[in-house]
């Protein structure tokens, strides 16, 4: 390729520079620069002001268990989000709680890692005072996901994982299954229902957690081996929109209820767990929708001690088929189950 002459290049260069200098002296340019400077200053002042604010105490319910005390725990998080939105700094105080279950730890860690929850307002917190709860909390791996000056260690029998790439991860499913199998059954043999459930949970989150098609959502998995028994609990959580507000379910409901808005989520639970909820535009529609029915089928096995789904304003006990209307909306989905030796 023929090179441009130095003279030509310098002329072009001068022309570009001259045009740029002219632009820099225009009124529009100066206004934009001044606005940006002003905006940065305002942000810095706001940050400094926010940093000086005292923490508002936000004590957690004594029974800090999402699966057992769902309404109160849900209200605690909803109230916290409202306060964060008003730029309150919060002390998420779990010091004096009397009960703590693994599902609540996963909800807490997922929430404080979610900007839509804390709105960058600032929070702090400490472990529970009760020694046994403190041990559970500290060894959960919680501190690996928050800024902390102190503790950062996972217990031997725990796995807390955040998946940011929103993929189905078979290797992680195997690791999580194995952790529970070794603790509960005392061997290394695959337990197919457990592995399949983990894959279906990941797959469902990939497909059902968003309000928009193709939008993905992070998920959390917490595996906890109870040192006082052979039981292992699994908490699989996402803070998406919840199953009933997902695009697939919403499209289905629009077709079924055609304009009328007089339905409650709890009334369409059967459609959900039988797998008949489907979107007409979905690829491979005629062969899809088997994931949730498979989870429901497996949940009836005696190995599974508890099996709950909490999503939007419904709590479903898959073991007993009991459904509970919640007082508040949980924007997300929790699948919780325990395995036991039978």
């Amino acid at each position: 390729m023929k090179r441009k002459s130095t003279k030509y290049r310098s002329k072009t260069y001068r022309a570009i520079r001259s045009k740029y200098q002219l632009k820099r002296h225009s009124k529009k340019w100066k206004e934009r620069k001044a606005n940006k400077k002003n905006q940065t200053h305002q942000e810095t002042v706001a940050k400094q002001k926010q940093a000086k604010k005292p923490y508002t105490n936000h004590p957690a319910p004594n029974n800090f268990s999402f699966i057992k005390n769902t309404n109160e725990v849900l209200k605690y998080f909803i109230d916290a989000e409202k306060l964060f939105k008003k730029k309150h700094k919060l002390n998420l105080n779990i010091d004096d709680i009397d009960d703590l279950t693994p599902d609540a730890i996963s909800l807490l860690v997922a929430s404080i890692n979610d900007r839509d929850f804390h709105h960058n307002s600032g929070y702090k917190g400490d472990a529970p005072k009760k020694p046994e709860l403190k041990k559970i909390f500290r060894e959960s791996g919680f501190y690996n996901f928050v800024k902390s000056k102190g503790f950062s260690r996972s217990g031997m029998g725990c796995l807390l994982h955040k998946e940011m790439h929103t993929k189905v991860m078979p290797i992680l499913a195997k690791k999580a299954a194995l952790l529970g199998i070794q603790h509960t059954f005392g061997n290394d043999k695959p337990y197919e229902p457990l592995y399949d459930i983990l894959i279906e949970c990941m797959s469902n989150t990939n497909n059902h957690a968003s309000s928009k098609r193709n939008e993905k959502c992070n998920w959390w998995l917490y595996v906890y081996n109870d040192p006082h028994s052979n039981n292992t609990s699994y908490s699989f959580l996402d803070l998406g929109v919840g199953i009933f507000d997902s695009v697939i379910v919403q499209n289905y409901l629009k077709n079924i209820f055609k304009g009328t808005m007089f339905y409650r989520n709890i009334n369409v639970v059967d459609d959900l767990i039988s797998g008949i909820i489907k979107s007409s535009a979905e690829e491979d529609n005629e062969i899809r929708g088997k994931g949730i029915p498979q989870i429901v089928e497996y949940s009836k096995l005696p190995v599974f001690k508890n099996f709950l789904i909490i999503t939007n304003d419904v709590k479903i006990d898959l073991k007993t088929s009991h459904r509970e209307q919640l007082d508040h909306n949980f924007s997300g989905t929790l699948l919780y189950w325990e395995i036991q030796k039978v």
């Binding site: 399949d196 894959i199 797959s203």
Partner: protein
């Protein structure tokens, strides 16, 4: 019909099958179908022989994987043809055989 070829899932694919689509993540049903199952199945049909599929030593067969591989093959080629040219083996867990064969017989949702 004679068995002239086989797929040992544990060796030829993975011990940890994933979900339905490649976009879902590793070891999906779609990947298994396109890279292993369909080419071997088409060879078996062309050569008029049976393909043996060994399902053992695998962590599980999630329904989305089974549907995205065997279910899709059955929809595309018909369940009769698939079951004519594929034989399954599972010493670990006979329920697996039932699950996969049921998917081939009725790949659509019930």
């Amino acid at each position: 019909m004679e068995i002239k070829d086989k797929i040992v899932i544990e060796i030829d694919f993975t011990t940890t099958p994933g979900a339905r689509y490649r976009t879902d993540g590793d070891f999906s049903g779609e990947q298994f179908l396109e890279e292993i199952l369909l080419p071997k199945f088409e060879k078996a049909v062309a050569g008029n022989y049976k393909l043996l599929i060994d399902l053992d030593k695998v962590w599980g067969y999630p329904s989305s994987f089974v549907s995205g591989s065997f279910g899709k093959l059955s929809l595309a080629k018909s369940s009769e043809l698939v079951l004519k040219h594929i034989e399954f083996k599972s010493d670990d867990n006979p329920i697996r055989l039932e699950k996969v064969i049921n998917e081939i017989k009725s790949p659509r949702k019930k």
